[in-house]
């Protein structure tokens, strides 16, 4: 099989640190006493809880259902009792809690009834709904709901790429998966192919994983559809979806478009495996392979129930003194965890324990010397030094003009920068600022519209009130006139009474008219007090405005 491979622009050669963890077999991590399962483990709407506190659940039971099209269900990873539904610490950089379902496990690990899905008998749309309810999401890290990606929509999807690149250093879970479960990965591909109607199946694997390549090739020979297993050069980020597409097909996904627009869909090998478990065994996504490596005694891969606290796995791999933090993912794109007690989620491919020896603190940052090394290695072919300049100056509009949003945050630029500038950090900051501003602007537009409507409504209400009052007064006058016109029927006293009443009404109307100025006739001491209060308020307003204004006048 000779396929002409294409070299994407940029990229860096990294020390791969795969040997640490890929030599040991996969171990199943034991069921922990407590599982904390976040409702937001995928891109899209968080799942909606369908269990209650105190309820018994079985392994594989839906505990939160998909909410909308871009969403995925969440399942109990083992049997036990729901003990809490609410915010808990989740694996996110912010350290902010998010909604989770906590289960005290009962140790029985008892399955709910489950059966394979006859995928060929189901209509594609129904099959996709089933997969959504199986909680399937991309396991390569992006965790996009798989059911959505398996909908070819209006586009034909002739090429299906199965991504076994795994280009991030330290991570080996896909490597181990391909070595040991190649057949099931391809079973999953069979279903993908069925849904997408793909005719060309390409499996791209970095050539630093010869055993995985051999295993996949051996498995592919036994299938009744053609699968091309291709070794791609090891260069970070060859496993990025766009880079894998370019390497294998020579085509680029147009800026701002999806790969399906050019007839290509990409799935991670782990996703294919999970799909096979779902379809051929009826098992929802409740566990995954996780590499535990770095500063631990026995770096290795575990089969882990979703919701298991990371610290349990670190303990299994052999906790060591001198750890300086835990990353979820690899050293290039991984996220620092707020605590090692956060649970493993569907996106957790690696738990990387840091130490000062393995990850020395980065040297101090110097100014950019415009050496363009960053541009040379940028796989998105951007000019990172310009993006940095604009982001730093707060010139987000220019940053967008220079395609800030095409940055895939791969970190190649930061890696090579001789001035050690944390460039990616600046890009994330700029992106979030732009999003925040867009949100603010939308909110401000909304507020302005609301305010205008309120003014209009007040005006209208005032007018309506005035009209009503006028009508009432007229009615009264007519009544009085009618009464006056019938002297016989009413006595003099009555007429007098009516006159008094009318005068009173007039006085009252007058009072109402001047009501807003009811502080005009205040005694002098009261007046002074009010003035003082007003002065204080003005000062506070002034103070409150100041930082805002200096903010705005900043360059």
């Amino acid at each position: 099989m000779t396929r002409v491979l294409h070299r994407f622009k940029g990229g860096v050669h990294l020390p791969d640190h795969k040997a640490e963890s890929n030599g040991r077999p996969i171990h199943a991590a034991p069921v922990p006493r407590q599982l904390v399962i976040p409702l937001r483990q995928h891109i899209g709407n968080p799942a909606r809880p369908v269990v209650e506190v105190g309820q018994q659940v079985l392994k594989g039971q839906i505990i939160a259902e998909a909410d909308g099209y871009i969403s995925a269900a969440v399942h109990a990873s083992s049997s036990g009792t729901v003990t809490a539904i609410g915010p808990a610490l989740v694996p996110h950089v912010s350290g902010l809690p998010d909604d989770c379902i906590t289960i005290e496990t009962d140790g029985r690990d008892a399955w709910i009834d489950h059966a394979p899905i006859d995928y060929q008998a189901l209509a594609p749309a129904d099959l996709r709904m089933r997969l959504r309810d199986m909680g399937l999401a991309g396991l390569g890290g992006a965790v996009f709901p798989s059911a959505v990606k398996l909908d070819p929509g209006a586009h034909a999807c002739p090429t299906l790429i199965v991504n076994g690149g795994e280009c991030e250093p330290w991570i080996t879970c896909d490597d181990l998966l391909m070595r040991t479960r190649a057949d099931e990965i391809l079973q999953g591909v069979r279903v993908m192919r069925h849904l997408l109607g793909s005719t060309e199946i390409l499996v791209g694997i970095e050539d630093n994983k010869p055993e995985a390549i051999a295993a996949m090739q051996a498995a592919a020979a036994g299938f009744d559809f053609a699968v091309e297993v291709i070794a791609v050069p090891t260069i970070y980020p060859a496993g990025g979806a766009k880079q894998m597409i370019e390497t294998l097909t020579g085509r680029q996904v147009p800026s701002g478009k999806l790969s399906t627009d050019i007839g290509i869909q990409v799935f991670n090998v782990g996703t294919a495996y999970a799909l096979a478990r779902a379809v051929f065994h009826g098992e929802p996504l409740i566990s995954r392979l996780v590499t535990v490596t770095g500063h631990v005694l026995r770096p290795q891969n575990f089969e882990v129930l979703i919701g298991t606290p990371m610290q349990r796995l670190i303990d299994l791999a052999g906790d060591r003194d001198g750890a300086t933090g835990v990353l979820m993912g690899g050293p290039m794109m991984g996220m620092p965890m707020p605590s090692s007690e956060v649970p493993v989620v569907k996106a957790t491919n690696c738990i990387l324990v840091k130490s000062d020896a393995l990850f020395p603190p980065l040297p101090a940052m110097l100014p950019c010397i415009r050496c363009t090394r960053c541009a040379d290695v940028c796989p998105a072919e951007l000019q990172p030094q310009e993006l940095f300049r604009f982001a730093k100056a707060g010139d987000f509009g220019r940053a967008q003009e220079y395609h800030l949003f095409d940055c895939i945050e791969c970190g190649c630029c930061s890696y090579v920068c001789p001035s050690h500038i944390p460039l990616v950090d600046y890009y994330r900051y700029a992106k979030s600022e732009i999003w925040a501003r867009e949100r603010e602007k939308r909110a401000a537009d909304l507020a302005r519209a609301r305010h205008e409507f309120r003014l209009f409504r007040l005006e209208r209400e005032k007018k309506e009130k005035a009209e009503k009052l006028a009508a009432k007064a007229q009615a009264k006058r007519a009544e009085l006139a009618a009464e006056a016109a019938a002297p016989g029927a009413t006595g003099e006293a009555d007429a007098k009474k009516a006159l008094i009443a009318a005068a009173l009404a007039r006085a009252q109307a007058k009072k109402a008219e001047v009501a807003p100025k009811n502080i005009d006739q205040l005694p002098p001491d009261k007046q002074r007090e009010i003035e003082e209060i007003e002065a204080r308020r003005a000062k506070i307003r002034e103070l409150a405005r100041q930082p805002l204004e200096t903010d705005e006048t900043k360059p």
Binding site: S255, P336, P363, Q383, G397, E401, F405, D406
Partner: protein
Amino acid sequence: MPAPFVIDHSSVTQVMAWVLVALLPGIAAHVWLFGPGILVTLALATVTAVVAEAAMLKARGYPVRPFLTDLSAIVTAWLLALCLPSLAPWWLIVTGTLFAIVVAKHLYGGLGQNVFNPAMVGYAVLLISFPVQMTSWPGPLALTGTPLSLADSAAIIFGGAPKAVLDAVTMATPLDTLRTGLLQQHTVDEIMTQPIFGHVGGAGFEWLAGAFLAGGLVLWALRIISWRVPLAFLAGVWLAAGFLHFFDAGRYGAPWFHLFAPSVMLGAFFIATDPVSGSTTPLGKLIFGFGAGVLTIIIRTWGGYPDGVAFAVLLMNVAVPLIDQYTQPRIYGGAPGREKGSSR
């Protein structure tokens, strides 16, 4: 701390150190051809630059150590020193270096912020202010026949030598000779018969140019500079000079002669490649280098000064923001590099 958590082992210090190393062949050639005077000049410029850099960093409230150890001030000092006549008086060296570091670098905002190449600013200021001193070059030893010791050189530089000694060692440079000869209505061929001219460039000077070329190739091999700027620079010089020479060989020097004037090699590989004040885009680098090369010949031919590298580079520095803006390369996925009216 954010991702990535690993970095390559490069640093600004390393980049600058390699530039200094790559200058060593040129310095060695200089000593061999013109005597050890250049060593005194280099030392004086280095000390001045380091002191000025430290003082400016302190005054501007920056940490002195990380910035001083980036070696960028020393690179500026060496480049300027190599452009000066090697027996120039000490105050010329100090003034030029101070101007380069204090005004051209720090008053523009320090490392990474300067719009103009600091060494070339220092050089241009000296050339405009002290044209006589700036053009008194010592002749090649082979021609003057008066080898100077390190002590003699130091004596001349610090003003301790009688004028007669100075006159004995200085002579017009090849570019000066060409220029004066042309002004006296001689043809290029007549002028080239004078002993100051060698095989392709000036006698001795061409070897110096070759040494700079060798150092430059080392920088390119190490990927510290890209091939674009030097190659485009040399192409600009060669094509512009070649065009004129072809047009009237009697009045315009040969392209090889121009290429092997040392200032062109130094300019192409060490000065125009300064990343801070140069263009950053691939196409921009070609335009920047080519423009500087062509301007060098134009200034040499019609300008008021015999050499034009410094002014050519400074003029192109001015154009950099414009060049960069209009040469943004297309990005992955085919969108043009810079989008007017953002799409999102």
